[in-house]
Subunit: 378 residues, 4 copies
């Protein structure tokens, strides 16, 4: 019997095009051509629509991966899933995490004693601009999520702790394309603002995950609920979007008794925007056991944290007014604040934190999803 | 013998000109014409140079206070110190805290069992634009700090836990004025950027406090050390500046056995930008006793937190690179991050958090000052 | 017979609350309690949603007007229309223009030799948040436009050269109000972005004017065409919106043979975003006659210019790509660019220029409306 | 005798890494390996310190040029000067202009009838961070300017109409490097703000040009005059800076009777920030003859415009206050306004416009340099 052994290797990046960390891992044999399944990271820059940091990082990482795999850059997407989230304001260190999966031979009858990390990935069918932020995108993400779960060897949605999705957003050009074919698009706003195409794309992707995992019944879904009915959401979907994409890409992380990984994943949801305990709960869910605050030893077992930092739709936190919804730079500030919430708990800045949008189907109203990967002890 | 009884009353504000909370306190007799000594708050808006929220709040609060005291707005500054810090990005609720001081009769020989909150204030001599950010401003703030300590009845610098200072900054008009008189000014940059006049003004004020409290020997001070020698700093100075000011204003908070206040103040310094434990240490310094995390009961005794959120001068936190120094909106983001650090510990958003400047003489390099006021138990 | 004599008096403002210029005009008798019909101006600040400059200006001007008229600030709106547009980036001098209308006795049979400036104004019925950006707002603006034309003594739409409208926008609070009553709102985006509530409000107001003037047939209007069908537009509507408004306010400017004003108004439309000739055509329309460039003498007769600066919906100007649609600060930049286009023609910075939104029903696709008021010669 | 034949070929770019236009020119033989002397352009993005558009463009263009020349990217700087100015806000089309110089045989005694375009370039000695914005940088730019003039065959400064310079700025890393060696740097502010390192670098470069051309006597130059004595300036220097540079690069454009180019260059200076006539004067200086406005035929002969858009140091334009000095986004807005001023005259958006800094030694106080290249008629 073949069992997975999954690793997560975090490389800080010195510039958007810095592939030194990856190359070093490759040189050390920690990343092999047959084991690399995903690159997940945060790229520096503003994360705004006119930020070229993420685009450049995507190009540079794709070229590096192509050279590493000995294939052409256009072929990379078929073998390695890229999830790059733009914008590292504040205390989020630009970094790339390589996800590797090795298949090891194990005796047929020896399931692991406890559940350990598995990973699966899948690409979706192409998503034309008229589907962005709508049922077309939802359904294609749901389908790809099913494929990625199967690839991970997961069948029970309860074992899924994180689904990262990258989907196409809209651009001036793709809107023009859609409308020239007589189609409408969900929004003419290219930002991640409350009615922005980026926000719609992210949220359709989240609902696609929720549909796949049964968090939301398919019957309750329609174009009209996206960014309107906040009672529909996923607790494990982290999604982002980019204008340059044509397909969706899905990476599922979960735990399985059939895994031989040293790692385990867990997740939780913050109860509101300032809830540090929600972050600690994610560490606990992944297997760290502590009262109050995690110790240095606990934190030394922490491998990585993935968190969303969606701005709440309400202008109140615990009864008091905040101005975040009205702040001019709210997209940047909201993302930065999530970075601080996580860093102040983990004691490190190399956390994956994406967000800044106002409200989302990623997590319940006001709350945010946090997933943690820890090295199992013993 | 007369002893002080100091109260701190926090009123969230719905708009920059909202004085309803103050009026309600006045109607309830909690603020009296003879007890109001200071208004300290955070005003909404960007906090940037073209933000009119703080200016409007200043005008509205000054008019309210003038009506309340039955004097003209121009006379208000002689009786009540205003410290308004602009910019509430993220999770900082716009609010005003009224500081009241009542003098109560106590038997001559009964010093309190423990030290409790006292407050003192003083205005400085006028500071012309050519003194902003330089020794002239440093010396005048030091002198006013001495006066404010005397007004508080404090003699030992160890008993001083917070010195809030508001000083004149520069404006296009005041620079023109200075240069027309053949004087130079410290900077032509009107922002709070690393070479901005706002940052120089804040830092000269901080060094003035440090000089007054003996944190920095006078001999080590000169125009040249401001924003250059970061080994010189105060651990209790929180300073801000505004172009419309002509004088400095100083409020000193400390503890004294001669106080009959129900409140106690303490302070601490964070070790770096993501150090939540530093915030908890400020609560402990003020008298909350807890291991790990404060309980709800502990937090119910917390009256208010004052914190700086100065951006570190280094691009590294705990060994990893961050981009905060280069972020376009760093001034906003830096301030917002401090708000999150404090709110995630206090569980509330009505905290006074000012900052955003890169590096400061307010606190040691990389660290930030946090002061907390708690209601003493028993 | 009574005939109008309309004047337009432009006062630069030194701060958002500066009413000195108006007071001086009042002291000189140029503004009288019975002649003041409107205050139209540009207020400093960012013009963004968290800019308090405009709100403060509104409060200060309303208080001044109330004192001037001897009524309460709440009553001011019934007598004087306020159209304050926020944001003076670049080369737009913050200013307020007082519009006065005197009724002079003239012999019954002496119509003027040529048409001169008349003005009329009207308030609308209240517009609840659910009507913002939709037919409700369109119809109420159309109705108010008819009333304002009647007030101006205008019947032929051809004689109308400028209709300034200020309507309610949305706020976090008003959205909550609408949704608590089971209503939907047009957008949850509070900005003037492409799907922002501010843009929808402005555009519904423009279509209301277009409907009133017959520029667009009523039958072609519906909720669905707002910010979607750009073939529907007005050539004379300049609209803005603010969250604090509850009613719409309309001021109509036109020319009439029955006027005894010294002023005349004209308007034109730019053919694209860089079309300085469009600005010059507005001057010509108002009665300046020049080839090529206006002379100093021509410009000395120019009293005021009102211009929109809507960002084109296309990313091409005269065949070349621009990035304006994607620029992070496009709202500010777009408005600033209009200010430059006008100032570079008029040779002065005290022009009323509002805009920054992407695309609008104010003017044809890509083009912007410019109206000019000149002092008639002879 | 060998004579120069210089061409200027403007390629709009679709992304920061778009080299298609250059490749097409190479394929057509319009750019040859032995004729390419400089690439001068505007790159998209914000132009701010965290904008990666310019860096990416630099990398991509350098790689293309290396492939084209058959050398390594590190060798490119020795053969081709790159002047890339970041930030295309508003109506500035991202583009690259290839400057080619061919040496053609001409009879020894046949000087041209009129002066035509020549070009020369030179690199400077390396400029360590401690020299940035100071005499070290000034002198090295002056020296390189002399070399570039010699390379162009120009001896009379009157024949020089444009000197483009790119010099090293400062970065967090280079400041650290300098200070670790016991050196000071001119500023800790990495922006192009009034005390920003970027502004100091640009201005030292401008004074270097002024020194070389005799516009400013060397004796009047010192570290202290940079960004302080605005009476010292160049009328032909356009400078920019980037943290990644180690050397200065200079390209001189002028006219010479020994040239066989079809092109001619001229320049002028605007009298203030809204002076469109200054732009027209640059067209006239280059050889277009028109009264009032240039005709379509005139403009068809215009090849390219290079303009600065430095924000005036005063808050007044023609007697009226503007808020540009205080605008939060002034750097972007100021640059964008220059783009509009030029585009509204040239009727096209592919103009090179750099700027946004407050005040500069590039041009006289309040005015900006404009250079124009036209195709000579007949």
């Amino acid at each position: 019997m073949k069992a997975q052994r999954v690793e997560l290797l975090v490389c800080p990046m010195a510039t958007p095009a810095d592939t030194e960390g990856l190359q070093k891992l490759a040189d050390l044999g920690k990343i092999k051509t047959e084991t690399l399944v995903a690159l997940v990271g945060k790229t520096e820059g503003t994360g705004a629509h006119d930020d070229w940091g993420r685009v450049w990082a995507d190009v540079a990482l794709r070229e590096w991966t192509a050279r590493f795999l000995g294939i052409s850059p256009n072929e990379v997407a078929k073998q390695v899933i890229f999830v790059l989230s733009g914008g590292c304001p504040g205390v989020i260190t630009p970094h790339i995490a390589a996800v590797t999966r090795e298949w090891v031979d194990v005796p047929d009858d020896t399931a692991g004693e406890d559940k350990r990390l598995v990973v699966g990935r899948a690409g979706s069918d192409p998503m034309p601009p008229e589907e962005v932020g709508r049922m077309g995108q939802i359904r294609k993400v749901a389908e790809a999520t099913h494929h990625a779960m199967a690839d991970a060897g997961l069948t029970d949605p309860e074992d899924v702790h994180l689904v990262m999705v990258k989907v196409p957003g809209l651009t001036t050009a793709s809107i023009k394309d859609a409308e020239s074919r007589g189609k409408t698009v969900v929004s003419h706003d290219l930002t991640f603002g409350p009615e922005g195409a980026g926000a719609y794309a992210n949220d359709a992707a989240a609902l696609g995950v929720a549909m796949a995992l049964g968090e939301v019944p398919e019957a309750s879904l329609s174009d009209d609920v996206v960014r309107r009915n906040w009672d529909l959401y996923s607790n494990v979907a982290m999604t982002s979007s980019g204008g340059e994409k044509r397909h969706g890409e899905v990476v599922v992380f979960g735990n399985s008794v059939e895994s031989r990984s040293e790692l385990r994943i867990g997740h939780s949801v913050t109860k509101d925007f300032i809830d540090a305990e929600g972050v600690r709960n994610a560490l606990r869910s992944a297997g760290l056991t502590f009262n109050g605050l995690p110790s240095e030893t606990d934190l030394s077992r922490l491998v990585h944290v993935f968190a969303k930092s969606v701005i709440p739709g309400s202008d109140r936190i615990r009864g008091q007014r905040i101005t975040l919804l009205d702040d001019t730079d709210a997209y940047q500030i909201g993302k930065a604040l999530g970075g601080m919430l996580v860093a102040s708990v983990t004691g490190r800045t190399t956390n994956y934190v994406s967000g800044g949008e106002r409200n989302s189907h990623q997590g319940p109203p006001g709350g945010n999803i946090v997933a943690a990967v820890v090295r199992a002890d013993g």
